[in-house]
């Protein structure tokens, strides 16, 4: 059968994915297991890591009832009833190790609630990030083609595996499109020669890896175990299937290379992957100045005549108040990207609500302010209600911030451990948790 774009548009999503050969071997069998109640959708979690703090006076709202009531947050105004800001969370597990100004080094801690000093300022995670923990729980009941989608537009991943090792991020939009939607343009299942071939290679690799760990030292065994775990994941994905969902119609994004195009291209693919139920857990890094070199945003025209005149983002953040006019442009742009992604999800109806309603987007910055890299009172924005589990449309102020007036935080250690929010997110996502990360247990009661 020759498929024209016209006939294809009428194909059911499942047929489409079959046509794409999306590893749908067990599709008929799993479909029944994966049906969810009408009027609802599966819950999705998206974490977003961004960097260099915010221009605080233009970020925090003056009111507790509209989290978007300030310049930087304005792009989210149309979605304000679905936005939640949490003010006053500290990366406390790092503060406890006196890493007061190590904002560039928070990526391993940000979504894991763990910290281990490795060398100098470099830290490491000792446990999973929330996206990994949720993804692992989901994988126990559903075999999704991509259980956890990890993306970085600039810098490194903020997603960490159960053993604390980093989840390497996808960095290319065109490649991600292929991974998500057209990795196997062949017949489905083991009838697909490529799937069968890959399975035979994996059957070869598993005993090789197991044997390779024999007699090896403990550290090497851990490395091989991580490798084997990754191969097992590839194996599982060979038999994964995805379900029909509203608006699943993948569009080839091309190969954008400019930073702003990549960020948007990733957002489009994430939204489509969620609609198509290829994945339910996504970890995005927008930028990580601690994990990579300098970067610029020439499309924002940040150049001037000073030493920082190339508009280097990190340099602008360092200027503090004198850099605010440019920093506000940068921060606002990022909130535009958040609004864009959230808007895509909100435009997809699922039962009586939208895909956004069934999701939780957790957007964490790596530090408070770029001028001094502090890691207390870090900017946290949530969008979506995880299927109605989270009460939204608020600025939730916790710890010392609860009694604070104004919109600027300099330094200190008087906030609440961000572990509590991670624990809350786990529970909101229906992954029961009494504590996330190390040291600090319990949920963030102020969210209730």
């Amino acid at each position: 059968m020759i498929r024209t774009s016209k006939t294809r548009a009428r194909l059911s999503r499942r047929t489409f994915l079959r046509g794409m050969g999306a590893s749908a071997m067990l599709l008929p069998m799993l479909e029944g297991e994966r049906a969810y109640a009408a009027g609802t959708g599966p819950k999705r979690l998206i974490t977003i890591a961004w960097a260099n703090g915010v221009a605080q006076p233009s970020f925090y709202p003056a009111t507790d009832t509209d989290p978007t009531a300030n310049t930087i947050m304005q792009p989210l105004a149309a979605l304000k009833s679905k936005v939640t800001m949490v003010s006053g969370l500290d990366y406390k597990v790092m503060l406890d190790d006196k890493r007061t100004y190590d904002g560039h080094f928070t990526f391993p801690t940000m979504f894991t609630g763990t910290y281990k000093n490795v060398m100098g300022q470099n830290g490491a995670a000792t446990g999973p990030s929330i996206d990994q923990a949720v993804s692992t729980a989901v994988a126990k009941t559903v075999n999704l083609p991509v259980p956890l989608l990890t993306i970085a537009a600039q810098g490194k991943s903020a997603s960490f595996r159960m053993d604390g090792s980093i989840n390497t991020a996808e960095t290319k939009v065109d490649r991600l499109y292929k991974t998500l939607f057209s990795s196997v343009a062949q017949p489905m299942g083991m009838a697909n020669p490529l799937t069968a071939r890959r399975k035979s290679v994996i059957d070869y690799l598993v005993p090789e890896l197991t044997g390779f760990a024999n007699r090896r030292g403990t550290d090497d065994k851990v490395k091989i175990a991580a490798h084997l775990d990754s191969i097992r994941q590839l194996e599982k994905s060979l038999t994964a299937s995805s379900m029909a969902g509203a608006g699943c119609a993948p569009v080839d994004p091309g190969a954008p290379t400019a930073y702003q195009d990549a960020v948007k291209g990733f957002a489009d693919l994430v939204a489509m992957a969620l609609r198509c139920d290829v994945t339910r857990t996504v970890a995005i890094t927008w930028a990580d100045n601690g994990g990579s070199g300098p970067y610029t945003m020439p499309f924002l025209n940040l150049g001037g005549t000073t030493m920082m005149d190339v508009g280097e983002v990190h340099g602008i953040a360092h200027e503090g108040a004198s850099g605010y006019p440019k920093k506000i442009k940068i921060d606002t742009w990022y909130m535009q990207q958040l609004a864009y992604l959230a808007g895509l999800l909100d435009a997809t109806m699922e039962g009586t609500g939208t895909l956004l309603d069934n999701s939780l987007i957790a957007c964490f910055n790596d530090m408070t302010e770029g001028s001094f890299h502090s890691i207390n009172a870090v900017p946290v924005v949530l969008v979506g209600s995880a299927g109605g589990a989270l009460k939204t449309g608020r600025n939730v102020k916790v710890g010392a911030w609860a009694t604070k007036t104004g919109n600027y935080w300099s330094s200190g250690n008087t906030g609440v451990a961000h572990n509590k929010l991670l624990c809350s997110i786990s529970n909101l996502m229906d992954v029961p948790s009494t504590g996330f990360g190390t040291t600090y247990t319990g949920t963030l009661t102020e969210l209730a």
Binding site: N122, T168, A196, H314, H373
Partner: protein, 578 residues
């Protein structure tokens, strides 16, 4: 500190962390390898700012504590092929010239100076699979006798497959296969022919695809599985094939050739003399030149240059093509000095010539462009060696001018192997050029800021040597309307020494025993792919000893590193079964 984003270096080093530094008692406790790495100080306190990660013995006081154990050798953590090693290995194994690993994530490791592949996550496994599938598909036309097949399948396909498994397997695993390994590959071949109904060539291609994803190919642990570890006292001597791969990956960044595998099989790598002979042979291969370039690029972090944006108003000629030309120049320079030139450190640090085959870059030097590989004479009053080359100066320069802190820090950390404590918070930036005054005047003012003096006394007086070079390395005598002052001081070999400009500085560095020791230490860590520990002290001393003389060459140093104890032995790993 070198690991922070480069722009951070502008934001100076003061505050709580440094308060201790000002009194000469800076803590270095959080760094492996710090023990025994006695600080040479920076002329402002008894200990000054030194020690810490990676300085190890190279800080200059090896043997200050307990005498180095001549039989010592540190651990040998299992390493995965770096991206460069992967590219080179598939090139030498299968003739693949597509550099597939350029699609892999960066292997820059924030906790180490040189490249090192990280743990293998799902994304990595996916990319390795894609690469293996692509390579194996592309290689199919070459699966014929006298190319990649050691036999003619027309005379018996299964026997030919068997022969392929043995010969290709040995090259891919860089050692002979154990019987069980051969058997599992045979099973895969059979699956290919029967279950998957593949043609002979496609089934061989399937084997290649699988082998390229196997741990034996991807990791450096080239011991035959059935061989016992060779224990000698408290340490383990590496097996012959492990030595062969260590040698070839150090010298070539690639797999051993057949001759080296034959050396291993014949036991010729069991002695220091045998390793030395093999190392000298490897140095005659062009792949060794490329390694010297790769070392300098990693060591000086030249891969950061493409991210180094500059003011287009100040440097309209600076663009991606010029960045490439700058990197090519330094690569050609270190190769030509090390192979064909006199190979001496004094030449690397002092040569009044370079290899500039790009017109725009020749303009930066005010020189005449030469043909590729042709020496270009430079003004000896302005240029001497790689520290005065545009690649280094643009990398360490500011967007619109010089940057004495970055430049001083590079010399301080890389040529002297010192480390710095983390920069503290809340230090105002130096004033912009629009505030008036030369770069130096503005930074001097900034450095008087409280305890900023501590670190800046270490870095800036060195960095001022480069004030004659602007943000992309052009020579200048005026800065912001005033004459340049490039005089400075450096604490070297136990004494404060002064210089008039960069030419004076590189002259001091070239004569310094401390710099030689540091440089030998950097090469040692590069070869070991890890920081040195106390157990490696004797080895690093031996490597440095091979580079002590003024007339010692880069090649001498590489051979000394390849023959040191820690290159051939290791400590048993915790948890390891004998």
């Amino acid at each position: 500190v070198r690991l922070r984003s480069p722009a951070d270096i502008l934001f100076l080093f003061v505050g709580a962390a440094l308060a201790a530094g000002c009194t000469g008692t800076i803590a270095t406790g959080e760094s492996p390898g710090a023990a025994g790495s006695g600080a040479t100080g920076i002329g402002m306190g008894s200990a000054g700012i030194s020690g810490g990660a990676g300085t190890g013995v190279s800080s200059g006081t090896a043997g200050a504590g307990a005498p180095a154990d001549p039989n010592g050798a540190g651990l040998m953590p299992m390493r995965r092929l770096t991206n460069r090693e992967y590219n080179n290995t598939v090139r030498d194994l299968l003739g693949d010239l597509t550099h597939p690993a350029n699609q892999f994530p960066t292997d820059r490791d924030k906790t180490f100076e040189f490249r090192r592949a990280g743990d293998l996550a799902v994304q990595d496994a996916t990319l390795l699979r894609t690469a293996a599938e692509t390579i194996a598909a592309a290689v199919k036309p070459k699966l014929v006798p006298n190319m990649l097949l050691p036999c003619d399948p027309a005379t018996g396909e299964d026997a030919c497959a068997q022969k392929f498994i043995t010969t290709f397997g040995q090259r891919a695993f860089r050692r002979p296969l154990a019987a069980a390994e051969t058997m599992r590959l045979t099973t895969l071949y059979t699956t290919g022919r029967t279950t998957l109904k593949l043609t002979f060539a496609d089934a061989i291609s399937l084997l290649i695809e699988a082998v390229l994803q196997s741990p034996q190919f991807l990791y450096h642990w080239e011991a035959v599985p059935t061989d016992q570890s060779i224990h000698e006292g408290a340490y383990v001597r590496l097996g012959p094939y492990q030595i062969a791969s260590r040698l070839s990956y150090f010298m070539w960044g690639s797999m051993p050739d057949d001759a080296l595998l034959a050396d291993a099989a014949a036991g010729r790598l069991d002695t220091v003399a045998g390793v030395q002979t093999a190392a000298r042979r490897l140095l005659t291969d062009p792949r060794a030149k490329e390694t010297v370039s790769a070392f300098f690029a990693d060591w000086l972090e030249l891969d950061g240059l493409p991210d180094r944006t500059k003011s287009s108003a100040a440097y309209p000629e600076y663009n991606a093509a010029m960045q490439t030309a700058m990197l090519d120049e330094t690569s050609a320079f270190v190769q030509n000095v090390s192979f064909g030139g006199d190979g001496r450190l004094a030449t690397l640090l002092g040569a009044p010539y370079s290899y500039i085959s790009n017109q725009a870059l020749a303009g930066v030097y005010g020189a005449t462009m030469g043909a590729a590989g042709q020496q270009t004479a430079l003004n000896p009053a302005q240029r001497g060696g790689f520290l005065t080359q545009a690649s280094f100066l643009a990398l360490t320069g500011a967007a619109d001018g010089s940057n004495p802190v970055r430049r001083g820090k590079a010399v301080y950390t890389k040529l002297l192997c010192h480390t710095l404590p983390p920069p503290p918070a809340n230090v105002p930036n130096p004033k912009p050029a629009s505030a008036g005054g030369t770069t130096r005047q503005r930074f001097v003012e900034h450095d008087q800021n409280a305890c900023a003096k501590g670190c800046h006394q270490a870095m800036d007086p060195i960095g001022f040597a480069f004030e004659n070079y602007d943000g992309i390395g052009k020579y200048r005598t005026m800065d912001n309307g005033q004459p340049v002052d490039a005089t400075g001081t450096i604490y070297l070999d136990g004494a404060m020494q002064s210089f008039n400009d960069a030419i004076g500085l590189v002259g001091l560095l070239a004569k310094s025993a401390e710099v030689r020791r540091c440089f030998a230490g950097e090469w040692s860590r590069y070869a070991l792919s890890r920081l040195d520990t106390d157990a490696d002290a004797a080895s690093l001393q031996a490597a440095a000893a091979g580079f002590t003389s003024d007339t010692a060459t880069m090649q001498d140093l590489m051979v000394a590193v390849a023959t040191m104890r820690s290159f051939r032995y290791r400590s048993p790993s915790p948890g390891e079964m004998p």
